[in-house]
Amino acid sequence: MTVHPDYPILTERLALRPFSRGDVDAVYAYRSREDVARYLFDPPLSREECAEAVQQRIGQIAFELEGDKIVLAVDLRESGALIGEMSLIWRSAEARQAEIGWIFHPDHHRRGYAREAASALLDLAFDKAGIHRVMARCDAHNIASARLMERLGMRREAYFRQHAVVKGKWDEELIYAILASEWQRQREPALDANLRRFPPLGEAR
């Protein structure tokens, strides 16, 4: 299987497109922040590290071999401003597994942008790449990220307590996942109305 999406991927308010060399400053604006790095494995990045990261991402635009990553810049269509990044990693060819992730500039949180971008990438994973299950993980303290996973209709599959040491502290991790069939069902309007009437247990808490 090879997956070469057509770029940009457009949503109502966003454009998802490959990174380019001019994106370093915009990436540095959020990856240098302590409040962004708190829930990532990496510490805040220097400008040089951001330049390296952007350089690496320029080529991460397709699935050809297991382990390949698609990492895209997320632009606001209206202004063209880069507000964050989305990733989709091909974890297993045999079992058709992928992992989705996102990082957004805090100035652009709470507007539904991450949800909009993640929905587009889940469409890509299930429709174009034929993936069977997409998982996502986040630090157990990262409430905003966990809530987004639940809003996307992902189920909480794991809560690992003190299972590793990250940056010298006990790590606690949540794993969410969604199957192709679950994503498909969610896109059907009649069932979607039912989902609103009977929200997933996670949203009630």
């Binding site: 045999e94 599959e157 690992f160 299972h163 790590d171």
Partner: protein
């Protein structure tokens, strides 16, 4: 890691290292489909059982991360081999361990596996000072899931269709317990709480 002495003595069992003459008893249960899923190596025939026995005979202590200690579960009164239980030391920094166990199905339902796993949890936390011990089982293996939950292990993960095993979608449960949770449960009996399920 500190030394410990074998065999480990529990009310009805002895946990000892594997011996060459355990081969026949292993041939009865190791190749069973439901058993081999969680063994270290795939076991399809008697030659694989021999490979497995030789591997287990070398797993006699935990010296460095990645090491596994494997013990034969033997019934005291008739010295019969009932199954196996092992502890893997996974991560030195975070001091993590993983328990695996398998029992000859002819002897299941008597609490033997539970008795053996309890003894290995004691060993993990008291002797080896492990911080967190985890265990996995197939999502359809209700007996193992119940056993782990009864020992006080929390359900931390329920993976659905995350992998293929022998051509079928797999469903996997992960259980875990922290050192302080294990110590407390041996002295204090908590009131039943309605813990939310993971999945």
């Amino acid at each position: 890691m500190t030394s410990f002495s074998l065999p480990i003595d529990t009310p009805r069992l002895l946990l000892r290292s594997f011996q060459p003459d355990d081969y026949d008893a292993l041939c009865v249960y190791q190749p069973l489909r439901e058993v081999q899923r969680y063994l270290e190596i795939p076991i399809r025939d008697k030659a694989d059982v021999l490979t497995s026995l030789n591997l287990m005979r070398r797993q006699v202590s935990l010296q460095r991360p990645g090491d596994t200690l494997t013990l034969a579960i033997v019934r005291k009164h008739d010295k019969r081999l009932l199954g196996q239980v092992s502890l893997r030391w996974a991560d030195a920094t975070a001091s993590q361990g993983e328990i695996r166990f398998a029992l000859d199905p002819r002897h299941s339902g008597n609490g033997y596996a539970s008795e053996a796993v309890r003894a290995v949890l004691d060993l993990a936390f008291d002797q080896f000072k492990i911080h967190r011990v985890s265990a996995r089982c197939d999502g359809r293996n209700h007996r193992s899931a119940k056993l782990l939950q009864k020992l006080g292990m929390r359900l931390e993960a329920h993976y659905r269709e995350h992998a293929l095993f022998q051509g079928e979608w797999d469903e996997e449960l992960h259980f875990a317990i922290l050192d302080r949770e294990w110590r407390r449960s041996s002295k204090v009996r908590d009131l039943p709480v309605n813990t939310p399920r993971v999945a």
